[in-house]
Symmetry: C2
Subunit: 335 residues, 2 copies
């Protein structure tokens, strides 16, 4: 065990699981010593299940900190559960690892994953490790629980509903731009704090579990914003047979995003269409708006009404001081 390189070469799947993943295992995982895991559903509940795969070079940078990749792999799935009104119960991880993955990388990745599992009370239940000649890929299946019949859908927005988003929009897309086009003029306007903030928002989704109960109590429809606000709102509208109007002046922006936008007003398109926000986009019937916003505030989650669902099948319109924009290809699509 003194030579890490040799270690790597001889690490069996069992060794790898015991060393890095057993510490994350929860009830029903049987210490990762079985071929499948068990979930005992609570009385009167139903399970909400979702899967998201992250591929190196597509969904994250291969040189992102391994711990951040671990947190993100679970975070993006827990964000889906939160948007459906579900509390996390656990997750399965399928990791496709290139032969040259190092023990150091795996250790830091597993530590980040454990941070997230602890923070979201979402333990590892089981999984699978395979070798791949391609890029590293992480497939997480997350399980959540809701009272029976309480899951909140994407396709149930109704004309008249107010459109609400949590947190701030566009930070992660700007954080990604900082990585891919670091020399742009607007980045100078940010200062170090702003750059660190936006970079962190790209690396670290913050699933909005604080509003799970409020969503179940008040929302007609809900989804998380992962592929850009414009594209995801268009998806929600298409699925619901409706359209939407958004007032860009109401869009919640971070201080850093405001500074970036002041330096380069064309960044509004990046903010509205860029991906990786992992905020919640939901629609609330007008009489429930105040109770929903109150509940979010009590949970410490910023929530902002930005527009309304309207009848029709047009693409959502984004209004700003007399201009109207419909984003025909509004969604950043990983496919």
């Amino acid at each position: 065990m003194s030579d890490p390189a040799q270690d790597d070469a001889h690490l069996t799947e069992d060794d790898l699981i015991a060393r890095y993943f057993r510490p994350l295992a929860g009830e029903g995982a049987f210490g990762l010593r079985d071929d499948a895991a068990r979930i005992v559903p609570g009385e009167g509940t139903e399970l909400v299940v979702t899967v998201d795969t992250l591929v190196a070079g597509v969904h994250f940078f291969p040189d992102d900190p391994p711990g951040a990749i671990g947190r993100k792999a679970l975070g993006v799935n827990v964000s889906d559960l939160a948007a459906k009104g579900a509390r996390p119960r656990g997750f399965l991880l399928s990791a496709a690892l290139p032969r040259d993955v190092s023990l150091r990388w795996l250790g830091q990745f597993a530590a980040g994953l454990k941070d997230a599992a602890d923070a979201y009370r979402c333990p590892l239940l089981g999984g699978d490790t395979v070798k791949t000649p391609g890029p590293l890929a992480l497939s997480v299946t997350a399980f959540g629980e809701t009272p029976r019949g309480a899951m909140v859908h994407r396709f149930t927005a109704q004309p008249g509903d107010r459109i609400v988003v949590t947190g701030t929009i566009g930070d992660a897309a700007l954080g990604l731009l900082l990585r891919t086009a670091p020399g742009a003029a607007w980045t100078e306007a940010l200062g170090v704090d702003g750059r660190v903030f936006l970079t962190d928002r790209y690396l670290h989704p913050a699933p909005r579990l604080g509003v799970v109960e409020a969503l179940r109590a008040h929302a007609h429809a809900s989804m998380d914003v992962s592929d850009g606000l414009a594209g995801d709102l268009a998806k929600m509208c298409r699925a619901s047979g409706a359209s939407a109007e958004v007032d860009l002046a109401l869009l919640p922006l971070s201080e850093a995003a405001r500074a970036a936008l002041a330096a380069d007003p064309t960044l509004i398109d990046t903010i509205v269409t860029g991906g990786d926000d992992y905020e919640i986009l939901c629609t609330i019937p007008d009489p429930a708006l105040a109770p929903f916003l109150d509940a979010a505030e009590r949970a410490g989650v910023r929530a902002t009404a930005i527009g309304s669902i309207v009848p029709g099948d047009a693409l959502p319109v984004f209004r700003d001081a007399g201009t109207e924009t419909r984003y025909a290809r509004g969604s950043y699509s990983h496919f």
Copy 2:
């Protein structure tokens, strides 16, 4: 829609899901129009969950028939459920697709997947499609159901238990050899029918759902044989704190495997250690052996007692006419 190549280039994730995967969607999938799926557990049941990833060039040949790949991706997971005593409820598919994947390939893959989903009563509940610069990879998460507390584990074999396997062992490993070393002398002894049979056994796992109830009623421990009998039995013994003795003369072999072995007796090692059997390996207390074998026969599943669990922590021993073999690296490990 007249130019398939152009079609490919412009296929959005939504188009792809609608065209190829919506026909597979079951209850709780909401027509694949939501971000997560719902599973309503039966009264007094628990869920068994498992994930397996197949990577092109590692777990299947890129030029295998796409329909066979689809059937196998689900079959290997349903085999895990069956071994745990669980009836399938549904699955999630995460597909990482290279940019050059063709519509023709996807159509045939989805058709094979649908065959399997129908055969195992295991509908598609949801999933995820991503682009990858690497090889095609398919990650299936399967959900099964057992009465509460009835899941059969890997780590509960007890000294004195009889070791039972379903079907025949080694066919898939020989089928793989036919692909990788087609000119070997033993292949001549097979005839066309034998070669077709073994190739088919490699391509098409046959999950043994027929013995699910019998396993729950009678087995102390159970797992599916996916990484080779020797290695998987060693895993079961290690997890259970026991050892095992197998009588090779009792090993159930197909007619084709017998012909191969007669032509080249060294193939016994391939048969015992090769992967992809997807048969069930279980341990049955001696008084329950006859009832278990009867139940399997009534279900149309061949089941054969091949040895016993014994005390100790030695590797399982395989005996044959005076020789004893312990397979130190008995398992074909994909990792």
